[in-house]
């Protein structure tokens, strides 16, 4: 699978400027911007309260994430029109990672729900538990769902299925 088929490989994600780098992935909760095409677009840069995302001019530049500055506040997840931003805490606990993702479907999951973790091709690859569901009015119906998955899946799970 590859970008031209609609499914990015993890290698393609790691090569894009929205990848914060392995050491920040290991160290903290950090945003991953899976944005790989030169579309004129920059609300992620404009909404980041700490200036951790840079697009600059022209606005077709791919966003660059500064892992040092990123506080994992989730604001960029909600505003990205392409729903292409995720906040991952790889070392959330000894066994588990957490992934915050944008969700715009019904029914909404609830905290504690056991769901399926889907990879970028929609394949169910693991079980996941819903840790948090945040629906803020300013996020205009983009709900931020945080799930817990076993560490080995943290770079692959980008969607959920509620059984």
């Amino acid at each position: 699978m590859a970008r031209v088929e609609g499914v990015l490989t993890v290698e393609e994600v790691m090569k894009c400027p929205g990848w914060p780098g392995d050491n920040f992935i290991e160290k903290k909760r950090v945003a991953i911007l899976e944005c790989v095409e030169d579309i004129p677009c920059n609300p992620c840069e404009e909404i980041c309260p700490v200036g951790a995302i840079k697009v600059g001019s022209p606005i077709t530049n791919l966003p660059v994430i500064d892992g040092e500055k990123c506080t994992g506040c989730n604001k960029c997840i909600a505003i990205c029109p392409g729903l292409a931003i995720f906040v991952v805490d790889k070392n959330h606990s000894q066994r588990f990672s957490s992934i915050s993702l944008p969700y715009e479907l019904l029914p909404l999951p609830k905290k504690g729900d056991r769901v399926e973790g889907l990879d970028r091709s929609g394949k169910s690859i693991c079980r996941a538990q819903v840790e948090k569901v945040v629906a803020l009015e300013k996020n205009d119906k983009t709900v931020i769902v945080t799930i817990i998955v076993e560490k080995e899946f943290c770079h692959d799970v980008r969607s959920i299925h509620i059984p």
Binding site: E5, C41, P43, P81, L106, T142
Partner: protein, 368 residues
Amino acid sequence: MNEYDTELAIIGAGPAGLCAAIEAARLGVRTTIIDENARPGGQLFKQIHKFFGSYRHHAGIRGFTIGKQLLDEIENLGVEVMLNTTAFGFFDDGLIGIYGSGDVLPLRAARTVIATGAIEKPLNFKGWTLPGVMGAGAVQTMINVHGVLPGTRVLMVGSGNVGLIVSYQLIQAGAEVVALVEALPEVSGWHVHAGKVCRLGVPILLSHTIEQATGQDYVEGAIVSKVDRNFNAIAGTQKNIDVDLICVAVGLRPLIELASLANCRMEYISGLGGFLPLHDEYMRSSNEKIYVAGDITGIEEASTAMEEGKLAGISVARDVGKLTQETHNMMSRVIHNNLYELRLGSFGDERRRCKEAIIAKNAGRHVP
């Protein structure tokens, strides 16, 4: 027959027409918008996703929210909006024929903006006329505006942005997109739109096409097949898919009938959808009293339609003496910059080239 008089007539209350009205009315031009639909807003109200671009292009805001903001402004400015009214002709003496609620009215306007948008292109395959085969935009109208899902198991034909976005919106509305077929060997729309549906499990079948819609009185299934480099079906690859709705998303073309009746010079620009009225950099058509804006001038996006509408509105204001040349220059520079930004990047290159060609051809310059 009594004539109806206005300073600026705008035909089409979509994003381009509404923005033209706002700019013109703000500058004191008496403006009347005519739209044959029961509600204004054009296709804007079915755009339920958040817009791209930058904050000045309404990035991060859903299309229908932008639509509401525009309508509020129209109301504040006291712009007259004639709904359920069809403009059916342009006549030699400059009159526009309009028809609404059983009355035919000759409309006289000092200037006219034609912002009639676009229509979906059809795809001709066996069974394409069966109920249950609909344009993707048609389905989008039904689900997002009218709250009716025309089917629950869907085949999407075409992986451009419309096909990808409507697939996602069908899932949001509760349908299952059983498959998306694309004749090219790669997704033609933006990756992010494809990514959203792929991770929800929609199979994108590249190098595939629909051969037939099956069913007696309405769609009960589809036959898809793999295609070769010349888009010919490869024997033996036919697959039956169980669907009750087939969406065709194979592109749009400008709706140019009125502009033709008004004798605007047309040119075939394939990169922008087909025949369209030429215009200068200020959206003036070849007919000096007529301006054009939005998808009628070439298939792009709502964001470019809004900018072009603004450009047409201020050009009208300048041409009827309500805006100085100097201020017009300043304001159009800002809008030109906004448009330029929206046409950057590999997806915008072709559109930008085509728009430059339109302006050049309109000016009588040869375009290679």
